[in-house]
Amino acid sequence: MSIQILSFGSITDITGSSYFTMPMVADTSLLIAALKEKFPALADKKFILAVNAVTVTENTILKTGNIIALLPPFSGG
């Protein structure tokens, strides 16, 4: 089982791709830890997570089919 990840903005410079998969884990805290292990440069980056296009600020249980987005600070306008 795997989980789909979208990355945006400066995060794509670190992940190398705007779409990839990671092995399924129980919650977003575990996912962040796994991402930082895979991409050490993420440790210095400021970013938030969205689960199915909705921002999550606390640790959140992951379900099959969830799409996770890695969002660096916004700079529109």
């Binding site: 979208l6 945006f8 903005g9 400066s10 410079d13 969205a50 296009a53 909705v54 987005a69 969002l71 660096p72 600070p73 916004f74 700079s75 529109g76 306008g77």
Partner: protein
């Protein structure tokens, strides 16, 4: 009060043309209850960053997330201000320096509502919408934009 129930697209490919803005203004002449329009335009600056000149900004967005958030902002603004209408356009892709990348347009019977709503929408767009600008320099190099 006009407000839509389904999220409207706000994105336009590339720069926003001055003629498009003129058409948008002209269309409002048929709404004779309008007394005031407030317009905000964002223009790409040719900033010099570490001795390199910004020639363009390339915008990308998490569209599926932007549109519902923009819808929520729109509903909140219509609930708070007595507006006749509101239109929002944001560029995606490359916008050269000197070109327009954001167009916010609010209209109301009296000026205070249009002016205050326009300012609030601009602040919320910059703060809440998952959109990113990549500042492109003369030589292939780039830097990710950061909003003040």
């Amino acid at each position: 009060m006009m407000t839509d129930k389904k999220p409207k697209n706000i994105f336009t490919q590339g720069a926003i043309a001055a003629t498009f803005i003129a058409d948008s203004i002209q269309k409002h002449s048929s709404n004779k209850s309008i007394g005031a329009h407030s317009i905000f335009l964002g223009q790409v600056r040719a900033d010099v960053l570490n001795d390199k000149l910004v020639t363009a900004i390339e915008y990308t967005a998490f569209t599926e997330m932007v549109l519902p958030i923009m819808h929520t902002i729109r509903e909140a603004i219509f609930a708070k201000y007595n507006l006749t209408c509101m239109h929002i356009y944001h560029s995606l892709g490359k916008v050269n320096s000197g070109e327009i990348c954001l167009f916010v347009f609010t209209s109301s019977a009296h000026r205070a509502m249009a002016i205050d709503a326009c300012e609030e929408v601009v602040e919320r767009i910059k703060k809440e919408l998952p959109i990113w600008g990549k500042e492109l320099f003369e030589n292939e190099a780039y830097q990710w934009k950061e909003n003040k």
